[in-house]
Structures are given as structure tokens and as C-alpha cells.
């Protein structure tokens, strides 16, 4: 019988703790000061999706260090920015810029609702007591639709506690409603 690997048996659980406000701010500051993201930071059309702690396993170099994972979406380049920030050292330990479509950040959810509420077609279709219920990350499977290739949200309208009555698809890149569908026909 082989010896039991023991490296992962001694891990400080505090490394998994949620980031403090200061750690989150630190992570974002380190990221936006990285030269590779200078254009993104200068143009400032990015939205932060999530900032969370990440604990890497041994034998990774970052094992045992306080690490934040920052995910942002840069609308200027239509790219996802996925970075690991070594908070102990105050530097970007890993940076990926890719075509991934991360979940919507809270700001993006709010933006989708605002765009939908301002749309004339949506206004016409809404009942008196309908209100926005949820904004969800959405993509179409049909190539001909904008939402198959662009960052989009589905905003659900209706009365709280009841089934929605209307769905509005919002293209977040150009802040426009691209589709309005009665919920029962979705």
C-alpha cells in the first residue's frame, strides 16, 4: 500500500473565508493597475461580476496564500477577464482574457431591468400591476439572433409570487431590447 498523500490534510480553513471589503477593494485596485489591463481601466466599460476567495491546492505556488479571484466583463473588447490576485503579495498572479460568458454582475442585472423598462414595446405589453421580477443571463441557440453571440439578459415581468407574463431580451452591449415575448410563448 502506498503512502497516503498528506499535503491537503493540513489546510488553514480561514483561507476560504469570504473576502473583507478591504480585500475586495485591494483585489480590484491591483487588477486595474495591471499594465495588461490599462486599456480596459482607461476606457472603463467593464463590469465587475464577482470577487471571491480562491484556495489553490498543493503543490500550487499559491497554496497557503490569500488569493482573490476577480471576474469582470469588458464591454469595450467583448471579453471576460478572469484574474487571480495574490493579496499577500499585492500582485496579479494569473490573468486570463477569454470569450467566456460569466454570470451577470448585479450592475448588469440592474442595467438590463432599466433598459427593458424604458422600451416602448415593453411598456405597451405590461399590465398595470406588472413589475420586473428577475433579470437572468440568457443566450439564444439560434445563430440568427443577436443574443446567440452577444452578452444578453432575459428580464421577466409579472406580479410577485405569480408566473411571469412577459419576457424581454436585452442586449447589454448596446443597451437595447431585442425581443419581447409573452411568457406563455417563451
Amino acid at each position: 500500500m502506498r503512502a497516503r498523500p498528506t499535503a491537503s490534510l493540513s489546510v488553514d480553513p480561514a483561507l476560504f473565508d469570504p473576502l473583507t471589503e478591504g480585500e475586495r477593494a485591494d483585489a480590484l485596485r491591483v487588477l486595474t493597475e495591471d499594465r495588461r489591463l490599462a486599456t480596459m481601466a482607461k476606457v472603463a466599460r467593464y463590469r465587475v461580476v464577482a470577487v471571491e476567495p480562491l484556495v489553490l491546492k498543493p503543490p500550487h505556488d499559491l497554496f497557503g496564500r490569500r488569493v482573490a479571484r476577480v471576474v469582470a466583463y469588458d464591454y469595450a473588447s467583448d471579453r471576460c477577464v478572469d484574474a487571480l490576485i495574490d493579496l499577500d503579495a499585492g500582485l496579479v498572479a494569473n490573468l486570463q482574457i477569454n470569450e467566456g460568458q460569466p454570470m451577470l454582475g448585479r450592475d448588469e442585472e440592474g442595467q438590463a431591468v432599466a433598459v427593458a423598462l424604458a422600451d416602448d414595446r415593453v411598456k405597451r405589453e405590461l399590465g398595470l400591476s406588472d413589475e420586473p421580477l428577475a433579470a437572468m443571463h440568457y443566450w439564444s441557440r439560434r445563430d440568427i439572433e443577436l443574443s446567440s453571440s452577444r452578452r444578453s439578459a432575459a428580464v421577466l415581468f409579472g406580479q410577485p409570487g405569480a408566473r411571469p407574463t412577459l419576457v424581454a431580451v436585452v442586449d447589454l452591449v448596446d443597451s437595447q431590447v431585442t425581443e419581447v415575448v409573452p411568457a406563455e410563448q417563451w
Binding site: R4, P5, S8, A50, G100, M103, L133, M136, Y138, W186
Partner: protein
Amino acid sequence: MVAMSNSIEHADWKIHWKVTESAGLIIYLASYKNRRVMWEGSLPYVTVDHQRQVLSIDEESGGEAHGPFWSPLGVRNLVGAIRRSDFRGGFELAADFCVGQGGPFRYTQLWRFHKDGRMAPWLVIHGPGLHDSHTYHPHWRFDFDIDGASDDALEHFEGGRWTRVAEEGWLPYTGESAENATVWRQIDFGTGAEVAIRPHHWEDAELFAVRYHDGEWPPFSPRASTAGQSFPASYTGDESIDGEDVCLWYVAHVHHDAAFPFTAGPWIKCGF
């Protein structure tokens, strides 16, 4: 009881928990009888697909008029506090999530731990959804580190016997299972310890096995790219997983025509 501490030691288990922005109620550094079982277990996504309620003869999209949508189960959708309850022979954590204000997608995430070594990562789906023709796809991610991260093997029950899985891939539940209803099991070479996974009979479960890499972390979305496959399918390639650190994705498919609320998710049993 409202859970305050994020460390629980009870019924031969020691676990830690937290609520994230993106992956629900996460359990991490879980041990059973002082032996590490899991580095981290989470529920990164629940996507929802819709099918047309009335199909026309010339329908080309297979009944799906639109693609899926989803919102992460996380702090933004958490309703109330995390609840801890002790029951005869174990304890459980529960968290309620509602997507949006009074939204149509409501869930209760459960993690249950039994003194006999069973663990139940479940999701109660309450509905009601947009309309009756839709399907929920909860995706659990299990990073089992049985007695440590490496030296693991995965076996799949098929053809009447356990078969070693050599490479990454897709391992669906076909209705065939071992006597104890388990379909997959991850075994530590060094000690012979194992965790066995028993799917829910009515949720068309499938398992994706992926080799863990240093520095590879779970995605923040089921959508790998605008043109690519969704996670976790896009993670699986042809790398060897035999004797390596293995990461498993358990995906359930729950159709709304099932009676609701529906409790999805597997049973997981520690064998040591």
C-alpha cells in the same frame, strides 16, 4: 436554528460551509471519521430550458424556441439565514434562494450529513417557472479528495460490472446500477477508501469526470464561449484520470411535468 459558525463537527463529520456569490452554499474541507473526503462541493449553476407548449409540424428547433437562462444561487438571491438542523443520526444545512423579487424560480439547497457516512447534496425545486414546459438542470461540482488529492480512480457501473474510467468524459446514468443502486464510485488507490454516488432515479442524471489541474478553477458560467459547448462538457477532453486528482460534475435534468416540489441530487456514501 440559524447557523452562525461556519465549522460544524458532529455525527463523525467535520465540515466547513459558506455562501458565495456564484455557487450557492459551498461545503469545503469535509472530513468523515477524521479522514478527508472532499476539498469542495458546490452548486455552480441551475440552468432552465424551455420547450414550446404547442409544436408545429415544421418546427426545426426541436421544440426549443429559446436558449437557456440562469442566475447564480448566491448571496444576491438568498432568502433568510442559513439553517442548521440536527436530526436522528446526523445534521443538515438548508438555504432558500429566490431568483428575483417574488420571482418564479425558487429553490432550497440542502446539505445533509449522516453518521453512517452518507452525504446528501440536494436541491428542492419549487417552481413554478414561466410555464409548464421547462426543464431544470442543476450542476453540482464535487472535488473529492479521498485521503488526499491524488491517487484516485473512478469507476462506472455498466454492462453488469464496475469498469475503470481511464480518461475524462461523459458518464450518463442509463438505468443500470450496482446492487446498492450506486452508479459511480471514486476510489483512493493508497487506502482503498471510496465514495459511491447514487443518482436520483427520476432525474436523468449524468456525470462528467475531469482531471483537476493546479490553477484550474471552476468557471463562473455554464457558457464557455459564444460558440463553444457549455460547461462542464467543454471541460472534458481525453486526459487520463486514472491515478490522478479527479473532479466530478453531477448534472440532473428535472422536467417540470414531474410533481413539484422535486428534490434533485445524489446520495453520496463514504466507504471506509
